[in-house]
């Protein structure tokens, strides 16, 4: 096995399909031998290299149980992601990682969990959600609340429609605006994500929240959760920062005196709440 911290390990794209106008799903297969026993915790990320274009941090969006097979959900956001979006199955990419501190799945065991995803924030939470489903009996009530701008921006629509039929989880979707409803999509409400929390019954001392989304969403979601008396040390957020190295070296990603890439990206709210501009 090569050192995947400094040298990107080669991988092949095995599947690509669009999830929305600007976001696609990528499945990668790490080369055999290079990445024996690759595993991770939901919430961790990798640095994905697109040869001759560059490298960027990306959440692992699949279940950790798939070994050398990685699932990513990538929005075309700039130079490198645009080049990636032009690649096809069979094309080479490379991976460093996994990096960072993910969600505390061990600590969450035996508790209820509520996952709150806004937009692209579904990527790391999908990994966590699949992890919970694969270990269903070890966790209490599982709720996924997911908000997108409009129906066509809901990522993983088909998968969610299927999951919506399961009786052992609760899935709640909402969109900011109702444009045309795409046929066959899962049922969703209209309104902002924090609105879904209203009227929800939570066992506060036995529930963990996992939150991921754009900064503006954090501010109103946290207000809402704290309004429900949700304990600060049971709210886990995944933060985004500019990242170049992923290993606490390039100094771009600091939040307060933490490195987002190593101490995070997942932090409990009580650890970061005093840091100005953190969300």
């Amino acid at each position: 096995m090569t050192d995947m911290t400094t040298i990107p390990a080669m991988a092949t794209i095995t599947e690509v399909h669009p999830l929305s106008g600007d976001t696609s799903f990528f499945r990668l297969g790490l080369k055999e031998g290079e990445a024996q026993g690759f595993t991770f915790t939901p919430g961790q990320f990798v640095q994905l290299s697109v040869p001759a274009a560059g490298e960027f941090p990306i959440s692992l969006a699949g279940s950790p149980g798939h070994g050398r097979e990685l699932e990513l959900c990538v929005r075309k956001a700039g130079h490198v992601t645009a080049v990636l979006h032009n690649l096809r199955p069979g094309d080479p990419v490379a991976v460093r990682g996994p990096f960072g501190t993910g969600f505390p799945v061990e600590r969450m065991r035996g508790n209820d969990v509520i996952l709150l995803a806004g937009g692209l924030g579904i990527a790391p939470l999908r990994s966590l959600f699949h992890y919970f489903l694969e270990h269903r009996e070890e966790y209490g009530a599982i709720t996924l609340m997911y908000g997108a701008r409009e129906p066509s921006a809901i990522l993983f629509r088909d998968e969610l429609a299927e999951l919506a039929c399961r009786r052992d989880i609760r899935l709640m979707l909402t969109v900011d605006f109702l444009t045309e409803e795409p046929a066959g999509g899962p049922v969703c409400r209209v309104g902002l994500l924090p609105g879904l929390l209203m009227g929800i019954k939570l066992r506060l001392d036995q529930t963990y929240a996992a939150v991921c989304g754009p900064p503006a969403l954090y501010r109103c979601l946290i207000t809402e959760l704290l309004g429900l008396d949700f304990p600060e040390n049971r709210i886990f957020l995944s933060l985004e920062r500019r990242m170049k190295c992923g290993i606490g070296l390039c100094c771009h990603c600091a939040v307060g005196d933490f490195f987002c890439c190593t101490d995070g990206p997942v932090f409990s709210y009580d650890r970061i709440k005093e840091i100005p501009g953190v969300i």
């Binding site: 080669m10 290299s49 274009a53 100094c251 600091a254």
Partner: protein, 329 residues
């Protein structure tokens, strides 16, 4: 008693002797009039009275721009090989040695950086005592006491008192001992450390001076030119770029010195910037220099070399924050 004294007369021969262990580099005055660590062609070029070079010695271990990886479709990504040419770096003042010690902690400790390791091993550090000017404050930072050297040369009127700090240094001194004589070294003059206590206390309690009006003042004057971190011996943040080569198949990944006072430093895709204002960027610089991030939390990284105060075109000085607090403006 050990032979430890090098007379001024023997100094040129000593330099020649050093050059037998590697390429000799030291402070010289360049054609464009700046002090710089450069290869020494003749002993007369060495600027023994150099107070500080513009660019600190970090460039020997961590060049301004270097290829870190290469890519080819057949071999994938591979580490580049650092040259690792042996260099004897002469004329390092205690602050610069302290700066190198800090970088050693960053790049050699928890996850050794292969390129840094290679380059660092190839360089022999020869320290030299100095006279501070009005910009220096190594005494304040507790870095006046030399550390992390292979050989340290304490300069006096008649010559230099040598001490070895490593087995490599000992070996060189032994090899050149014919040039040395045994003398009792002068007792060290203790440094005056006016506000070291203030700084260390502030660092220990994680002081961010959040209420100070100085931030606004700094932000209003700063030109975002980046000189202050370019010339800082302990600033090491870097950007990474990948460039395809002309053959259309292979590529090179470069890392390049970056600067936290540049606007792009905290910007992410989509245009959101976590340090939009210059004031936020200044606080970030302060936090890194005096409080530290991640595993370097609690370690003050300013070594008091005075370069940033000297080069800043608008004379911004983060030390004012401490002086304001301690009422010694």
């Amino acid at each position: 008693m050990q032979k430890n004294f090098l007379s001024n007369e023997s100094f040129p021969l000593f330099l020649q002797g050093l050059a037998a262990s590697g390429d000799l580099h030291g402070p010289v005055l360049t054609d464009d009039g700046v002090m710089a660590f450069r290869p020494i062609c003749s002993p007369a070029d060495i600027q023994l009275d150099c107070i500080r070079t513009l660019i600190p010695p970090k460039k020997y271990f961590f060049p301004p721009k270097e290829a870190i990886l290469t890519y080819s479709p057949v071999k994938g990504y591979q580490l580049t090989k650092a040259a690792g040419k042996k260099v004897i770096l002469f004329g390092l003042h205690p602050c610069d040695l302290a700066g190198i010690a800090y970088l050693d902690r960053v790049f050699l400790e928890s996850q050794p950086d292969p390129l840094f390791v290679k380059r660092r091993k190839a360089v022999t550090l020869i320290g030299l005592s100095c006279e501070p000017d009005e910009y220096c404050f190594c005494g304040t930072m507790g870095t006046a006491e030399p550390q992390n050297f292979d050989i340290f040369m304490h300069r006096t009127e008649a010559g230099f008192y040598l001490s070895a700090g490593s087995s490599r240094g000992k070996k060189i001194i032994r090899r050149l001992s014919v040039l040395l004589e045994a003398r009792e070294p002068p007792s060290p003059v203790p440094c005056e450390c006016k506000i070291e206590e203030t700084i260390l206390q502030a660092a220990t309690r994680g002081e961010t001076f959040s209420e100070s009006r100085l931030w606004e003042d700094f932000a209003g004057r700063c030109l975002s030119c980046g000189a202050c971190s370019l010339c800082c011996p302990t600033c090491y943040c870097f950007d990474v770029q990948e460039r395809g080569r002309l053959d259309g198949e292979t590529a090179e990944r470069l890392r390049e010195w970056d600067n936290c006072l540049f606007k792009s430093h905290g910007e992410v895709a989509g245009g959101h910037n976590f340090r939009k204002t210059r004031e936020e960027r200044f606080r970030y610089r302060f936090q890194h220099k005096y409080l530290g991030f991640g595993p370097m939390r609690g370690i003050v990284s300013c070594v008091g070399c005075g370069r940033c105060r000297d080069v800043c075109p608008v004379k911004i000085d983060l030390m004012e924050l401490f002086r304001e607090k301690a009422n010694i403006l």
